[in-house]
């Protein structure tokens, strides 16, 4: 009995010693004192509810991918962080366009070094484009039908020419998504046999395992798939470095909202992503050490798509009726909270060519009844139970589902709300039979505010097979015709007219519920600056443009530790703060 008590006492003492000083993180990295010492290496921690992403720039096309690529790789041109998304020179200093707009000649700057020290030349550009269009994954869909392997030619060491098989007006706006890889490194890590003949797997496996073959400002280190990775500064980056720019970033996949919150509260995490609950965003707005960067102009439309290939969604009037059952105001004001705007037609107003004559659908039970009466399925109680699907980490989509479900139930229409893991969703939308009835998607704009980015990828028949494009499986020959013509036309006024007609048709057909123009947000520490939301792709993370003010992030300070630990440390002479 006494022994038992003694043991418990010892345990309590040991555990208690941990509490004597609040257990702050103790780090072997140096640097305490003065802000803005050139020696201060600013390390950020980024925690978000998403995976680490595929580190091969020809493979990924989603959010985690665009956390990696802008930092590890360079492109010929890039988005201008300082002003509404324009394209400015990056690796290419200037470019010529042929009179038929089908041949682009890029002149590269000299002295751009890959991480292994070799120089970036036109050869690398050709290799990368051929690689991208051979592998046909990732964002290769942007150039599908217009660039094949072989279309790129090396004119001389610093000049490269790309031939387009068909005219493509938005071409330049897509080029920031084309990343240049290091042929030497890739060729050294080909795995044969592989799906690409002589090129084996084109180095895909090696890259995805957590390596980079880039020339960008950061190097990929310590990649633990689905867990974490580090981005560490590449000192030889061609743009050079200024004090207070970020030295490194440590990414952690954290799926618990409460955990991200605690990390930010304690200062252990300085930046997070857009998948948080809006409650969390409200908190970050108010918390003294953090603030939230919002996109200045919403560039992503949020749709509740309806599978137009399956009854009852094959009937236009049914879809219009359902569009009037969604409480847009409650969604925007109570669920999203962050300042979304009403989405009028399929395209946000930030894009040029927006058709301002369109009449949006409003929440009105009366109007809904009117529309339903005109449809084949006017007896709502006889309609089968519909399924509303959402991606399982996105809370506000779930709430939107509950909202729609509640209002629909008032009219006797049954809707079930179901969560889908990302992988399953991708799988199901490729098949019209398996596609969920109603799906919440945020359309990605991908490239500069050219309407083609939003309208083509979503509404053209040929793109109706993939996740970001057309879970509504919408086919309209007139829309296809207009989109094709507009892509190739060069006169902006002409293109505007065509796009406006497209928007009118789509708005009338109502293949999706136009839920909102989504505001993107990034909760971050107040000391972090340079977060830009002018980039069309919502979750693009460009660390080079950020800088840090004030005392280095918490993780760099040497903190108090419990007396016993301190004694032990001193005894073993490990207590060395510098």
């Amino acid at each position: 009995m006494y022994i038992g008590a003694a043991v418990i006492l010892v345990v309590l003492l040991a555990v208690g010693s941990l509490y004597v000083a609040p257990p702050k993180q103790v780090v072997t990295q140096t640097v305490t004192t003065v802000p803005t010492t050139p020696a201060a290496k600013i390390w950020l921690t980024y925690a978000d509810k998403s995976s680490t992403g595929k580190a091969d720039p020809a493979v990924g096309s989603d959010t985690p991918a665009h956390r990696l690529y802008p930092n590890l790789y360079d492109s010929l041109v890039e988005f201008d962080y300082k002003s509404p998304a324009n394209v400015i020179p990056s690796v290419a200093t200037k470019w010529d366009v042929s009179s038929d707009t089908q041949v682009y000649t890029f002149y590269l700057r000299q002295g751009v070094k890959f991480h292994d020290g070799s120089e970036l030349t036109a050869e690398a550009v050709k290799f990368s484009m051929d690689r991208m269009m051979t592998m046909k994954q990732g964002v290769s869909f942007m150039w599908e039908g217009r660039i094949k392997p072989g279309n790129t030619e090396v004119v001389d060491k610093y000049t490269v020419r790309i031939k387009l098989d068909k005219k493509f007006a938005p071409f330049l706006g897509t080029m920031p998504f084309f990343w240049i890889v290091n042929p030497t490194v890739i060729n050294a890590h080909l795995e044969k046999p592989g799906p690409f003949g002589d090129m084996g797997d084109y180095g895909m496996k090696w890259l995805i395992a957590g390596n980079d073959a880039g020339s960008g400002p950061y190097v990929l280190k310590n990649f633990k798939a689905e867990e974490s990775f580090d981005l560490e500064r590449y000192e030889g980056y061609w743009k050079g470095w200024k004090p207070n720019q970020i030295y490194g970033m440590h990414f952690k996949a954290v799926y618990e909202q409460a955990t991200i919150r605690q990390l930010m509260e304690a200062g252990d995490c300085q930046i997070s992503g857009s998948f948080q609950t809006t409650e969390f965003v409200k908190w970050a707005d108010k918390f003294p050490g953090t603030k939230v960067a919002y996109s200045e102009k919403p560039l992503q439309p949020h749709y509740l798509t309806m599978n137009t290939k399956k009854a009852p969604f094959d009937d236009k009037w049914f879809r219009k009726g359902l569009s009037c059952l969604f409480d847009y105001t409650t969604y925007i004001d109570q669920i999203r909270i962050v300042g979304d705007q009403r989405l009028i037609g399929p395209m946000p107003r930030a894009f040029w060519g927006h058709n301002s004559d369109l009449k949006p659908y409003e929440f009105s039970v009366e109007k809904a009844k009117e529309y339903f009466a005109k449809s084949k399925y006017s007896d709502l109680s006889k309609v089968r139970e519909l399924t509303f699907s959402y991606i399982n980490v996105i809370e506000y989509e779930r709430l939107a589902g509950l909202l729609l479900q509640a209002k629909a139930a008032e009219l006797g229409l049954k809707i079930k709300v179901e969560s889908l893991p990302w992988g399953q969703y991708v799988d199901r939308v490729s098949n019209p039979e398996a596609t969920p009835d109603i799906v919440a998607v945020t359309q990605q704009g991908f490239y500069a505010p050219d309407p083609d980015a939003i309208l083509y990828s979503m509404w053209h028949t040929t793109t109706s097979i993939s996740w970001s494009r057309n879970p509504a499986h919408y086919n309209n020959p007139r829309v296809d015709e207009l989109l094709d013509k507009a892509r190739e036309a060069t006169d902006q006024a002409e293109r505007t007219k065509m796009y406006q007609e497209v928007q009118a048709i789509v708005n009338d057909d109502a293949p999706v519920i136009f839920a909102s123009e989504e505001v993107g947000f990034t909760p971050h520490s107040k000391q972090l600056n340079g977060i830009s939301w002018n980039v069309p792709y919502l979750h693009w993370l460009g660390m080079y443009g950020m800088w840090w003010e004030g005392a280095p992030p918490k993780g760099s300070a040497s903190a108090a530790m419990s007396p016993i630990a301190a004694v032990i440390l001193r005894a073993t002479k490990q207590f060395d703060a510098t």
Binding site: Q137, P195, K205, E226, V254, V426, A565, Q574
Partner: protein
């Protein structure tokens, strides 16, 4: 019936079990509607790529061929490629499994220690208030949803009182110790890395405590009933009659006899905890096998699922075998091979 033949019999018994597990899990995971290949390659894969990948991953062969490939691969260390992480599953597990073992080991050790102690207390104070409290705690321990108790403790201790970290295995920015065993606590001790040790210790306390509840409850009950059984044994009565001090009787004799069964119980507890560890890992975002399995299921990553289940099955079978070994050794009747 010597010890040797006893062991061999037990060993032979385990083989069909493991075989059965592999068949079972193979069937369960291959009956998948939907196409895991399309999933893995992403939305923009062409039909060629899909056919190609199917060939590489053996998915175009008939089921029994796939099973044979799986078994062969298992022994050669090729446990397939995870469709989610694109890594070799064995490599993934080598990364995640030690975390789970460490957590479970700490949890079981704690539950063993506290369970035995409280069991003794309950037994020696049978039907008094200590006994009743112990019984209530035991029932509570077994009945409480692990994930709920985890969340509640996390809330109280990590969020409100900020005494311990909210989750994870090691503090941010603390470099993990040099890999020796994969057990951070041990590795940091080996390399004298006190900073890492304290960080890991802080992080493991809450999840291990939560995970230990059910085992604690069971060991408590077990030791209590074993000790109570012992009490009525002849030798105890004899010792009491001879005037031997109570404490001596309890700790030297009764405990030893009860411990034999308690020790075998502990190995079983380890195996039993492997079930609940997935929940604790989810709550405390502990990067272990449980989390890996849950993510794999969401992704229909059947290579990973199969490997994890078979691995867990093997561990449990091994634990049972170890128990038989230990028990056979401890029980002199088996060790010296009595005649039947």
């Amino acid at each position: 019936m010597g010890y040797g033949s006893y062991l061999i019999r037990r060993l032979l018994y385990t083989i069909p079990i493991i075989f059965g597990i592999s068949v079972l899990i193979f069937i369960l995971t291959r009956v998948i509607p939907g196409d895991p290949v399309k999933l893995a390659l992403g939305p923009d894969a062409t039909p060629d790529m899909i056919a190609q990948a199917r060939r590489i991953w053996n998915l175009d062969k008939p089921l029994h061929m796939q099973y044979i490939a799986f078994i062969v691969g298992f022994f050669t260390g090729d446990w397939g490629i995870s469709l989610r992480t694109y890594n070799n599953v064995l490599a993934d597990l080598a990364r995640f499994a030690p975390a789970t073992y460490e957590l479970t080991a700490v949890a079981v050790s704690f539950s063993a220690l506290v369970g035995i102690l409280t069991g003794i207390v309950a037994a020696t104070h049978k039907d008094k208030w200590q006994d009743h409290i112990s019984r209530i705690l035991s029932i509570g321990g077994v009945s409480m949803p692990l994930f709920w108790s985890g969340i509640m403790l996390q809330l109280l201790i990590a969020s409100y009182f900020k005494l311990l970290p909210i989750g994870g295995r090691i503090g941010d920015g603390v470099t993990p110790p040099v890999h020796v065993t994969g057990f951070y606590l041990l590795d940091s001790l080996f390399s004298g890395n006190w900073i890492a040790f304290w960080s890991c210790a802080q992080h493991i306390i809450l999840p291990a405590f939560v995970l230990s509840f059910p085992s604690l409850a069971n060991i408590n009950r077990l030791v209590r009933s074993a000790m109570i059984d012992q009490r009525s044994k002849d030798y105890v009565i004899l010792q009491e009659a001879n005037g031997m001090p109570r404490r001596l009787i309890v700790y030297k004799y009764m405990l030893k006899n009860s411990l034999a069964s308690a020790i075998t119980m502990i190995a079983l507890m380890f195996a039993y905890s492997l079930g609940g560890v997935a929940l604790v890992e989810a709550v405390f975002f502990w990067p272990g096998m449980g989390n890996y399995l849950v993510q794999a299921i969401h992704f229909k990553d059947f290579n990973a699922i199969m490997s994890v289940v078979v691995l867990v099955g093997i561990i449990i079978v091994a634990a049972n075998f170890l128990v038989d070994l230990l028990y056979g050794y401890l029980d002199p009747r088996i060790r010296y091979g009595e005649e039947r």
